[in-house]
């Protein structure tokens, strides 16, 4: 593959060309073919969610089945087990939304302070936070579960939200971002005007930091939305499940057979629905998160 790349790129540059005609067809085709790899599984998911259970296993995966059952599947997703799917969706929105708002607020405040103030202990604290990025999830999830269990917090919404508030990488990103995008002269000017430090943060800092905040918000949102491990160990009543745990349990119930056999197409349609909101969020907010990531990765 690199072989073709070098050849086409050399060819493209060997002839001096104007900027607008520098596009390489071969490379474009190669990349669009690669894009199929990323998109086809999702296309399969979309098509599969229009099939009923028998079509799902008997017709070609990348084309529609004999019947079009998207509507029936949707109805089934939202009515099976007294409409628990909607409950799971709502839980996911609450967990991800509250955690992401909290995590980005905490990370923004801390990152801004690390970037804009020199205070005793700052370096030590920041290195501990950086080191924490490497701590594996299991090392934490298990003792967190035991601690929460002893204070009767397991099987509550807090068990998911509170641990998700910590985003060491968010602090790191916001520190880099604040160092770049909040000029010290502006802070000095605000101080001259007699503004208090915290007021400067709320009124000047936050506004300049917004692309970085959106980045941290989105990535915490995804992390909590997609989290499976933490809710799996913390929750045992299905009313509190997020979509990930709910779907996984529905799937294993279907695989185990029993009376729940008709659930395969329901699980697939439910999976498809659970993907849509995040994809939309990333599409609409791409300008923010891309510029936010840019700063973080350059200075890394």
């Amino acid at each position: 593959m690199t072989e073709t790349l070098t050849r086409t790129e050399r060819k493209a540059t060997s002839v001096p060309q104007r900027r607008d005609s520098r596009r390489s067809n071969l490379l474009s085709i190669l990349l669009w073919l690669c894009a199929l790899y990323f998109v086809l599984p999702l296309v399969w998911l979309l098509i599969a969610s229009t099939k009923d259970n028998s079509d799902l296993f008997s017709t070609f995966g990348f084309w529609f089945g004999r019947g079009f059952s998207l509507w029936d599947n949707l109805v089934s997703v939202f009515t099976v087990r007294d409409g628990q799917f909607a409950r799971w969706g709502l839980n996911t929105i609450i967990y991800a939304g509250v955690s992401a708002i909290g995590a980005s607020l905490l990370a923004t405040m801390a990152g801004y302070a690390f970037a804009k103030y020199k205070f005793p202990g700052a370096t030590a604290m920041f290195s501990v936070i950086l080191g924490a990025i490497m701590i594996p999830l299991t090392a934490l999830a298990l003792p967190t579960y035991l601690i929460f269990n002893s204070i009767h917090l397991t099987n509550t919404m807090w068990a998911i939200i509170v641990p998700s508030l910590v985003s060491p990488f968010g602090v790191y990103l916001m520190r880099v971002y604040a160092a770049d995008s909040v000029p010290d002269s502006l802070l000095e000017a605000a101080r001259m005007d007699g503004a208090g430090e915290l007021r400067i943060f709320w009124q000047v800092g936050i506004r300049l930091l917004s692309p970085g905040i959106v980045t941290v918000f989105l990535f915490s949102l995804v992390a909590t939305w997609n989290n499976y491990f933490l809710p799996l160990i913390m929750l045992n009543s299905s009313d509190l499940y997020p979509l990930t745990v709910g779907l996984a349990q529905e799937q294993s119930a279907s695989a185990a057979g029993g009376g729940a056999q008709a659930l395969f197409s329901t699980v697939i349609t439910g999976s498809f629905i659970s993907v849509v909101p995040l994809v939309i969020a990333f599409l609409f907010l791409q300008r923010y998160w891309q510029s936010g990531l840019a700063t973080g990765s350059v200075k890394g």
Binding site: T6, C34, V166, V245, V298
Partner: protein, 308 residues
């Protein structure tokens, strides 16, 4: 501190200002530090504490020194999982990051039609929950009804069993690659965009090919971003949980309950109810990750030093 050279009244004003700023800084950092300590430091310390004990039917909890750690070093389940993850690290991570780098460089070269759309299409899998991705690929791999098997059979060949114990590791690598190529690509692409154009425009005028420019100007310029993706990938690999846990349900004969160290620690803790041993496993896993990340980083720094 710098104000101390000034006249006396200004000095005290400077000192109050510094104190006021310190207070503001602590007020801003404190909320994060509290949650950080409660959700990271305390559980970590508790986990370490637990790992030094042993629960016995007779006598209850007893201090066991390093017994749990010694047990882990001879536990074929733990070592097997670590070995699988080492294979994963050596094969999957270079493929994933190589692809990500290739895509990032290609999109950055400005030679691609529809590069904006491509960037998003590559990235979309990141927004798909790991659970859904694994579930979906589990169906796609299906030896009887999966579309891959259908296509292969339509060509008149025998359909491969992608969920068999021989191919499951490769199948899992594919799922992880699918999920994270776009994420890593975006990090590298963002860093590439930040390189000032003058740095390579001169080389372009001198007739250097794109491959040459990428190799000797662009890649060195984004080394820190690449390093970031390497470290994240090492951490991610050793923490694999969603994929083995869901494939365990789909193909229990191929994916055992000790397939990855993380999945094994979970099963030790919640199925076998042995929290002490699980604590030791989790702690060891953290040490393994830290050591590998450290070596990769120092090796990289040394190479950078030699080049200068």
């Amino acid at each position: 501190m710098t104000v101390s050279a000034g006249p006396v009244p200004r000095r005290s004003a400077g000192a109050t200002a510094a104190r006021r700023q310190n207070r503001a800084a602590y007020a801003l950092v404190l909320p994060f530090i509290i949650v950080f300590a409660a959700m990271l430091i305390v559980p970590l310390a508790y986990s370490a504490y637990l790992s030094f004990f042993r629960t016995q039917l007779v006598g209850g909890e007893q201090f066991a020194w390093l017994a749990n750690y010694l047990r882990a070093f001879t536990d074929p389940s733990f070592l097997g999982g670590l070995g699988r993850m080492a294979i994963f690290l050596v094969i999957q991570v270079p493929i994933m990051l190589g692809l990500a780098l290739f895509f990032a460089l290609a999109l950055d070269s400005g030679r691609i039609r529809g590069s904006k759309a491509l960037r998003l299409l590559f990235f979309v899998p990141y927004a798909v929950p790991g659970v859904v991705a694994t579930l979906m690929w589990g169906y796609i791999y299906g030896p009887d009804y999966g579309p891959i098997a259908q296509v292969v059979r339509a060509m008149g060949l025998a359909a491969p069993n992608l969920l068999s114990s021989h191919s499951i590791l490769g199948s899992m690598m594919n799922i992880v690659t699918w999920e994270y190529v776009g994420y890593n690509m975006i990090i590298m692409y963002a860093a590439l965009r930040a390189i000032p154009q003058e740095r390579y425009e001169a080389a372009e005028i001198d007739g250097a090919g794109q491959f040459r420019i990428a190799w000797s100007i662009k890649i060195p310029a984004i080394r820190s971003a690449i390093m970031l993706t390497v470290i994240f990938s090492i951490i991610g690999t050793f923490q694999l949980f969603n994929e083995p846990s869901l494939l365990h349900t789909a193909a229990p004969n191929s994916v055992g309950d000790d397939f990855t160290p993380n999945f094994y620690a979970y099963n030790v803790a919640f199925v076998n109810q042995d929290v002490n041993y699980a604590g030791a496993l989790a702690f060891l896993l953290g040490i393994v990750i830290a050591v590998i990340s450290y070596f990769v980083q120092t090796a990289q720094n040394r190479r950078q030093g030699e080049k200068r």
